[in-house]
Amino acid sequence: MLEAGRSAGAITQAEAWADPTRLHHLGRKAGILLDAARSSVAASLSSIADEPIAAEDVHFTPSTAAAARAAVHGHRGRLVVGRVETSMLLDIADQHPGSEFIDVDEFGRVNAEAFAAAHIGSSGVLGCLQAANAEVGTTQPVSLVADRTAPSNRAGLLVDAGQLIGHGPLPRGWTALFASARDWAGPAGVAMLVVRRGVRWQAPDDGRRGWIDGFPNIPAAVGCAAALEFVLPRADVEAERARGFIDRIREAATGIPDVEVLGDPDERLPHILTFSVLYTSGEAIVTEFDRRGFAVASGSACVAESQRPSHVLAAMGAYTGGNVRVSLPFGCTEATIDAFIRELPLVVAHVRGDT
């Protein structure tokens, strides 16, 4: 977590514990700080969006699940959903009547034509599409879908901006968007939903002046805004560095026999790389990297609570065993990458029992 978010949240903690809907002065003080956080997020996001975003368009929530539920709240039409959305969103879609799921190619990218065709079919269809896949990094054709469907579809396009904000510009044409502050190294326990003006949307009843779902966590909202203000001006430089680092790791992984590097090599998030190491278990690789001081994730069945492989890897037809997902933190150094690239073949040899 970034210091900017931590200290802003800590300062707010002492000042803003009251309910911002109350009329007493403590409530008003809380309300002012929440409004300031909304304004800050609106200004930050406007700098990476195709159209300006107003403070009233920004709603904080305790989680992306709460944000997505609020976005779909009151929507009676069908949903059209990418097959590799997060499990959270797929769960919402599974419970919504008449949801349609759009398949992906070997890179994990939905077919834009198929998505647009399903989305445009009738006026009340809400499209749900991630900006990029958080597991394999492939970007989704959000702008392309929006170009095709926007003129005729009034229900709109809900975009999961997970892992994108702080790493690249927003796609164009979305009508609602959600993301977690964790994506830009902000505090846990806060996410946001942004809904464009003029979009047909019925806000949930328990929305309290900028906070939806539960009692407003104003220190978290302020920390989320402060971290975003810190990260965005540095995002381009950081993304450029990350892209170079990831290219180096990709090259190193490709050089190891029987390794499948996953996701689109070009149209992708700059800071994430995923690959599968044949004849190894994801659990053994994660444990061995951890022993050597690197925290990596895995979509293999053996590391999942469900004991099933990641639905993203499965939908891509990828090899799911020995899966490794590398996500670079902000401020990752060249020395860390050098060390990772040095250790990678040793880890693989170790878990394959070649040593």
Binding site: D258, E260, L278, Y279, T280, S281, G282, S300, A301, C302, Q307, R308, P309, L313, A314, G317, A318, Y319, T320, G321, G322
Partner: protein
């Protein structure tokens, strides 16, 4: 799927990733081109990883069928010929 004559049976039931794919790989190295290998596996990952392994190795994945002995899992049928 039409019936195919299986040359090598591997019973990998009760074993988890990566054991069934390692067994398949070793059997493929010990078998002549054109051989048909059946891997019996009840590992949920096998349904994805055996077809993906065939794709990466350039072999033909014929399909999955229930095991002949009505036991658990599936028989994954692989032919050691270039995929068409």
């Amino acid at each position: 799927m039409s019936p195919v004559a299986v040359d090598v049976w591997l019973d990998e039931r009760g074993k988890r990733c990566p054991i069934p794919v390692i067994a398949l790989s070793e059997a493929s190295l010990a078998s002549a081109p054109g051989c048909v290998i059946a891997v019996l596996s009840d590992d949920p990952a096998a349904a994805y990883d055996i077809p993906a392994w065939c794709r990466l190795k350039g072999f033909t994945f014929i399909g999955a069928q229930p095991p002949a002995d009505d036991g658990s899992g599936h028989a994954y049928i692989v032919e050691l010929t270039p995929a068409v």
